[in-house]
Amino acid sequence: MSAILRLLFLIVSLSPGLLLLAWDGSLSWTLIDGVRLSLTLTPLAGFFMVLLAVAAPLVALPMLRRPLDWSSLALYVPLVLGMELLLLAGDFISFFIGWEIMTWSSYLLLLRSPRADLETSQSYILFNLASAFLLLAGILFYYSLSGDFRIGPLAGTTFGQELILAVLLGLAFLIKVGTLPLHIWVPSSYDQAPDLFSAFLSGAISKMGVYGLILLLTLFPDALTSLAGRLLEGPAAGYLLAWIGVVTSVVATYKAIAQEDMKRLLAYSSIAQVGYITTAIGVGSSLALAGALYLALVHTLVKVLLFISVAGIVLQTGQRRFKDLGKLIERMPVSFFGVLIGIIGLAGMPPLPGFAAKYLIFVSLVDARWLLLLAAMILASTAAFIYCYKLIYGPFLGHANSPQAREAREAPLIYLVPQVILMALLVLFGFLPGLPVQVLIDPVLVALGMETIGGASWAELTTTYGGYDGVVLMLVFIIAFVLVTGIFLLLRGRMHRAGSPYDLSYAGEVPTEGTPLHYGAGMGRELHRIPLVGWILRRGTRGFYLGLAGQMRAAAALLGSLYVGRPQIWILIAVVVFAASLAAQSMLGGL
């Protein structure tokens, strides 16, 4: 029985992939009077379905580790199915249904974690529902404009109507992707969610917001340009969106550096990455959209990889703070490589595909002549090196700082399999940066009516500004590495390993186990001394939202005081209201 259920679970998790292979044609039926649901697979949705098809089974696999949490497995099913519905939606109602199923099932999954506290879960669900309701409002407004729920370009609308629509839907999707200042729910929920589910949250669910943003562009005849004209070489409305994205990345990057917890760091880094994607969507050219999609792909691979690795660490050590870990490189080598490949992808370093994605975005920014945005984006993506380094130094390098970290063993095989698959994918795309472009991204661009950017071969990534060749790059690097290592080993001389991890040049001192040698927790603290960074880090939106919640509770108390338990007051109020309205009527109408 249990085996069959687990098999079923796996099949559900594989269903996005199966759907991609098997889906053709479309499906539609009436929900209620005048509301017709129709399912179809557009190339754009297909791209995001690919992301889901990668993330869903890879996250599902480690969830099958015993002891099984049946509730989580059961909730994962509607989550995946809801997301499929969302992507298959040919009309906004099924889009919304999928969106909402995704929202509540992910919330309930979040509750499965014993660490989830009230503030986190409330902020998660309230922000997501706010997003959903804004979406619904936007959908209804769209309906009032077009008279139909089918997703398609609008025609004959005024500027004001387009603006309202863009603001409603845009806000909904921006909450989902977690841009500033609507990001407050992201870090704590990614942090407190069940460890594996965080991977899915960051890898797949946040991408749905990206999907929505791109979908939003397709609603307008001339994408964002139709909203407010052009600025330099790009759409003026997109300039605003792009700045939102960039400010998000910058702030989130510094917040990530300041975190002392692996999962929180990854959460902020997700915000930052999605910020880049938002920027690229703001630029809106074919290069930029390709970059956005590419980055979405890479981010999914990387974040699923990283979160699963981190989940393995947490599973084996029970620790999640940088100061409690360290020196796991020897104890968890596969996880180390997982995180290593992950951060290389995350930081956008060549030769892994993270660079290809960033390259496209950078070039698109130059192409749009939005150089200031480019500078701000470089700031974020360079500062990202610091948290990437922290992420690998904290758990894996340095010194083991807790008994658990000293005795940890490698994560179970079921955690390692997805990691290895993802690593292989990332390396493959590093060799062939043009592969995702030609296979996955170009069809989307074609469907959106934009020019394609695929090059002559899979190995090449080409743009109008020039490109690079992944195979040559990889080979040169690998050959250089082998050569250097070989020559080095040919040199004469004794090379030996230190007899103890405490054999450090430490100003003549002899450090011991009790010496605070691990720099994991405090890393990046000195950034506070840089005026701009300090200014950013001292600020937060939590106070604002807590204040809002406090005001709501105060209002509740105030209004609640009306509901006193004394019948005479109820009667008095009824009579007074009656008399007052009568009086008002008599004054106005002349009784």
Binding site: R494, H496, A498, G499, S500, Y502, D503, S505, A507, G508, E509, V510
Partner: protein, 210 residues
């Protein structure tokens, strides 16, 4: 912990302190000569400012005396250094650090002891916690005497050391390796439990002295 060889500690002091023969002419191949030449032209100095010698070492690097023209520059950490300068008297506390730093240096490595205090305790000859003869604890290649010696004297010491390196003579570190028991016994005598950890000399335990 360390094997007893023929004798221990101060019993065989005189034998140990004798210079192992007057610079027997060492035969070197072309490559070795080249390497020696490179080595002597480039000395990274870990200046251990224990006593008043620290004051005398600073001018060495500055414009007046300009040690850099001999290829002598400072190094921040023992890992990068070739030469350790013990500048003046060593208290027990500093001795421990000096030994530790010395052991952490990568071979080939040399020691220059600066000032009279390193030779016989100097003005601290009767101090209860000052080391009188540094070469009982670490092998000293060059002593530069004086109280304190001027930078010129120090440069002369360096040049002498360079000469020995150039000729391919065996440095003190060979001596340290060969007589580690003796050095360790001496160190233990004065430092007791405070002796630097033995893992830095793990080659010793790995079997055989090279």
């Amino acid at each position: 912990m360390y094997h007893k060889t023929q004798c221990e500690g101060f019993q065989c002091e005189q034998a140990m302190l004798e210079v192992p023969g007057e610079a027997e002419s060492i035969r070197q191949g072309v490559l070795e000569r080249l390497v020696s030449w490179m080595r002597h032209r480039s000395l990274f100095v870990l200046a251990y400012g224990t006593g008043c010698g620290a004051i005398e070492m600073r001018p060495l690097m500055t414009s007046r005396f300009d040690a850099e023209r001999f290829g002598i520059v400072g190094a921040a950490t023992p890992r990068q250094a070739d030469v350790l300068i013990v500048s003046g008297y060593l208290a027990l506390k500093t001795l421990r650090r000096v030994i530790r730093s010395y052991e952490q240096m990568q071979e080939p490595k040399y020691v220059i002891a600066l000032g009279s205090c390193t030779i016989n305790g100097g003005m601290y000859w009767d101090s209860y916690n000052t080391i009188k003869q540094v070469d009982r604890y670490i092998p000293v290649d060059i002593f530069v005497n004086g109280c304190m010696p001027r930078p010129e004297a120090l440069i002369e010491g360096f040049v002498a050391l360079q000469g020995r390196i150039k000729n391919g003579e065996k440095g003190g570190y060979h001596h340290y390796r060969e007589h580690i028991d003796w050095y360790k016994a001496n160190q233990r005598k004065v430092l007791g439990d405070q002796i630097p950890p033995t893992y830095t000399c793990d080659w010793y335990h790995a079997g055989g002295v090279v």
